[in-house]
Subunit: 247 residues, 2 copies
């Protein structure tokens, strides 16, 4: 991770983590106004860190600015969720294309190949291997974005991923409970292989299309998780998603 995320060592970090947790676990209703003073007593820190956390979460997109400098809990539609995932697909597609176009020598692929190999080694999924797979998957995507060699693109993807359900790790808890989770991993692995093949052979357009399609796998996973009542609550921020207007 780029941001050290201002961990628990500071009041601001505590306030940020705690408030984000409250939001993602549905402790507030969408559209609700947040009062600094209420949060002071609820989070146990003074107004200064609370303000900073509010601002930060507004940048992340979980809150939105309301009239008279207040903050309101953001409400998402299913369309927002799909659009966020599609947008991530577009950006990761661009990363794959740039990786192909800017590859100087195939040795640059060694690191990501190593991750690939380790993921291939996970043939069946247990509780333990799922966490490992998610970590490797995240590292794989990060490595691909690194190969694009574009600080601007990196920044933009990080921004999109701050939205809870847009991040591929959104399903870290939910996915393991999904039926056909193993099949999803097999399909995902096949796509990873294809993307790397395209990058290695400088096939920018192919790499872009594959990476876009790969993001839609997240969408299918999320779709199943959100429609399954038993595991819907495992998805962070699910309570902020308005169920109606399903496109």
């Amino acid at each position: 991770m780029q941001h050290n995320e201002a961990s628990q060592e500071s009041q601001t970090g505590r306030a940020l983590l705690a408030l984000r947790e409250l939001l993602l676990t549905g402790q507030f209703s969408p559209g609700e106004h947040l009062s600094e003073l209420q949060l002071v007593s609820r989070l146990g820190v003074s107004r200064t860190p609370v303000r900073q956390a509010l601002n930060r979460l507004a940048h992340e997109g979980l809150l939105e600015a309301a009239r008279f400098n207040r903050f309101r809990v953001r409400e998402f539609t299913m369309r927002d969720v799909w659009d966020a995932i599609e947008l991530r697909g577009v950006l990761e597609g661009t990363a794959a294309r740039l990786a192909a176009e800017r590859l100087s020598n195939t040795g640059e692929l060694d690191e990501i190949r190593e991750l690939q190999t380790r993921m291939d080694a996970i043939t069946h999924t247990t509780v333990d291997t799922f966490g490992l797979y998610m970590d490797l998957n995240e590292a794989f995507h990060a490595a691909l974005i690194g190969l694009a060699k574009s600080a601007m693109l990196f920044r933009s993807i990080e921004h999109v991923k701050t939205l809870p359900f847009a991040s591929p790790s959104a399903l870290v808890f939910a996915r393991s409970k999904l039926p056909r989770a193993a099949e999803m991993i097999i399909v995902g692995q096949e796509q990873h292989h294809a993307i790397l093949d395209a990058v290695e052979h400088r096939q920018g357009t192919r790499a872009e299309a594959l990476a876009r399609e790969h993001a839609l796998l997240s969408r299918r996973n999320l779709e199943m998780a959100l429609t399954d009542e038993r595991i819907r609550d495992c998805v962070p921020g699910a309570s902020l998603i308005l169920v109606g207007s399903d496109r």
Copy 2:
């Protein structure tokens, strides 16, 4: 604009505008650390608004977080500039594609057609018409993004455009002094027409490719502006761009 930009009515707004102005006019060196107390005396407001402005500008990308919670003036390479423009092209291309895919009836194009017509009416460029053209151009792009009907995409494009040279309005002062400015407008208008034609006929892929190419026009303009010593300083934030490492 979405943000009301916290205009001069508040100390925070004043501090933000003033500090951004200082940065964009090259009053600080790239990599320089900014001290809150120094800014207090320089901007004439207390630490609280200064801190808020610093945080905001870090989100915008003009500053970056340094060790021990300090802020450093960001340094950009030419590659960053090109990447930012390419990224804007990718996102506007996505907007054009979505606009084509999601067009429900051609009546939705009335507003943007109106802008188009008004831009066509500007046949030759004087000092007056240039400002008008830039305004219309910005409105045209905003309308196109609106047609994509994606709040997520809108948010992402706004984020990218906070970088001074990534915004199409970066050249509002410089472009009028460029040679062959009239030709650029003609070419740009042709591309606008083609994009609208593609959107109207639901040609998503064509619209996307055209919009990407259209962003490269900004790149050519910026390239000329930055290499011309006489007008380089008209580009906001030019002093933050490292001249070496030209890709």
